[in-house]
């Protein structure tokens, strides 16, 4: 272990975990209301970023306006997906629903490539690419204080992600629609019998998932550029959701940060194979959690287990 690198990579890892947590939240939104795990979230992310790119670069609109437009378009796409793809699946077995979102992910990925083309794109810089922040720590290594170097991009993405998480958490906790969504997640029939229109609630949660995906996609694209492989980033968010227990918002945030942290920590190692394991760390952590604590770190203990 290169111990002197530990604080740097741990902090970078946690900061990188912020956007992961936000993306994972999009999955939880849908799962909480309709018990569907959306494998197509990565493609929603990609489409959100592509629309933002299209409005701001191709149509040369103001950046904030184009983000707003992209969010609106993605909310509509979210509604449409719920209406035309997932609603016919109501009452179908788990496999059909999983496959529906998998098929959707394939179709959307193909559609994105067909309409927008596969080239690597320059995404507008949202956060200034100025000098990285430097923090001098009291820790000492070989006579010098360890200095943490943090890119502005990373810090501000983290901040935006945290704000997004707080807004969504507050929305769930304090608004009537949020309350209705929580009620629906408890029991569909019971919620319906109290007069909630659960179809509309499913639609709203898919629309919101599209919005969250757009914000996440823009955050990722602005720091790492935009191409079609952006949709793969979500594969790191799937385990974050499970770590949190699928239906817990604080758990998902903790899961996302934990995944980021684990990816940062392995980079400290001196052994090359461990250092290169950052890409699979989410899934290694997932396997361990599944074997030891299958309900996740914060989930309710009602998951199906044997």
């Amino acid at each position: 272990m290169n111990w002197q690198l530990l604080p740097q990579f741990a902090l970078t890892g946690i900061l990188a975990g912020g956007p992961i947590a936000l993306i994972a939240l999009g999955l939880v939104l849908i799962f909480k209301s309709s018990y569907i795990f959306n494998f197509a979230q990565g493609q929603l992310l990609l489409l959100g970023a592509l629309f933002t790119w299209y409005f701001s670069i191709e149509l040369e609109l103001n950046l904030w306006l184009s983000i707003f437009l992209a969010v609106a378009v993605m909310a509509l796409i979210g509604f449409a997906i719920e209406r035309f793809a997932l609603r016919p699946m109501t009452g179908q077995p788990l496999l059909s629903i999983i496959l529906m979102t998998l098929g959707l992910s394939q179709a959307l990925q193909g559609l994105a490539l067909l309409v927008f083309g596969g080239a690597q794109r320059n995404f507008p810089q949202i956060f200034s690419a100025g000098d990285p922040y430097k923090i001098t720590t009291p820790l000492v290594h070989e006579g010098n204080n360890i200095i943490l170097i943090l890119k502005q991009n990373l810090v501000w993405s983290f901040v935006v992600a945290v704000i997004g998480v707080i807004i969504i958490g507050g929305f769930f906790q304090y608004t009537r629609t949020g309350l209705a969504m929580r009620a629906t997640s408890e029991d569909h029939e019971l919620a319906q019998s109290t007069g909630l229109r659960i179809r509309r609630i499913f639609g709203i949660s898919w629309g919101l998932a599209g919005v969250v995906a757009t914000v996440g996609g823009v955050l990722l694209a602005t720091s790492s550029g935009l191409d079609l492989s952006l949709s793969l980033v979500v594969l790191a968010a799937f385990p974050a959701v499970l770590l949190g227990g699928l239906d817990s918002i604080p758990g998902t945030v903790a899961g996302g940060l934990l995944i980021g942290l684990s990816q940062g920590l392995v980079k400290v190692s001196k052994v090359p194979i461990v250092r290169n394991s950052a890409e699979i760390m989410p899934y290694v952590v997932l396997m361990i959690v599944l074997l030891i604590r299958p309900e996740g770190l914060f989930g309710q203990k009602r998951i199906e287990r044997i």
């Binding site: 795990f37 059909s96 529906m100 098929g103 309409v115 083309g117 194979i273 074997l291």
Partner: protein, 353 residues
Amino acid sequence: MAIQRPAGEFDFSYAYDMATIRRRWQWVMLLLFLAGLYTLPLYASRSVVSLVNRIGISIIAVQGLNLLTGYTGQISIGQAAFMTAGGYISALLVNNLGWPFPAALPVAALGAGLVGLIFGLPSLRVKGFYLTMATLAAQFIIPWFTRQAFPEVLNGAQGLNVNVPVIFGIEFNEPGKYIYLTLTTLIITTVIAHNISRSRLGRAFVAIRDNDLAAELLGVNLFKYKLQAFFLAAVYAGVAGSLMAHHLRHINSETFNLVDSVLLLGMLVVGGLGTNLGAIVGAIVVEFIIEGATLSAPFFVELFPATAAGMIQALRPLFFGVTLMLFLIFEPRGLAHRWQLFKAAWRLRPFSH
């Protein structure tokens, strides 16, 4: 549905009752069909033979997935990862140790099966969606392993060039010859899969799928049978992976990827879950649809000239995804079910009820 016999046909002996192929004309049809397949290289073009080859290998992988997902009800999106495992083991045995291909194939299958067991272990504690995520973990960890571990043997991300299989001095170095290996293996795997599905093992699988608590109450050891299902699925994947690796003569960590796993599941659903016919029909139909995507690319290039370069990469997932979604909405039980309905309707004609 299966019990329903055509009018005038009776079972006079247990052997006849159990027989899969009951009539002499069915034997004749089957043998004619197989003869047609085996002589395919004589009259079909190279691309057709190559397509049939690929379909055959896909069928084997889907048959394995059918045992796990269709019969046992454990959803797996890791089948392609076990194909990777099988392909690598087979390639190493043939390349480095000089094993003959017919010996390397079963060993690669068993090796892939053992890898499958490891990733089936979480089935002890979780089921449903959580187990699916564990198989997704396989889809990441196994290819990563081939990229990072033992670079002097596995050659990292570059992958391995695989030797041409040689049996009795015959080199299977082109699709026209390789198809004999694929077809022969396919016949064996089909017979085994069919017999598993109607033996004690298959009935235990179905019992677990339909109601695991009831199955356990009846004395079906859940963990044992689930692991057996994982093992069998991975063995089939290993066979398919080994065949594909020697067919392509190259394998790396991306030869069989997550999209392939989804594709295999999609084939199973299009064909029909939990039916042996479905595994075969589904693989054929989906492969044809993907081939159709490739063939229709020039037409779409005119519509979207900006994407000309990546057109095939765009159309394949699009066609497949849309097909899968349409099937899930309109024919969730797959083509095999439709075929059963059709047969039943034909037998009862002209009285449909």
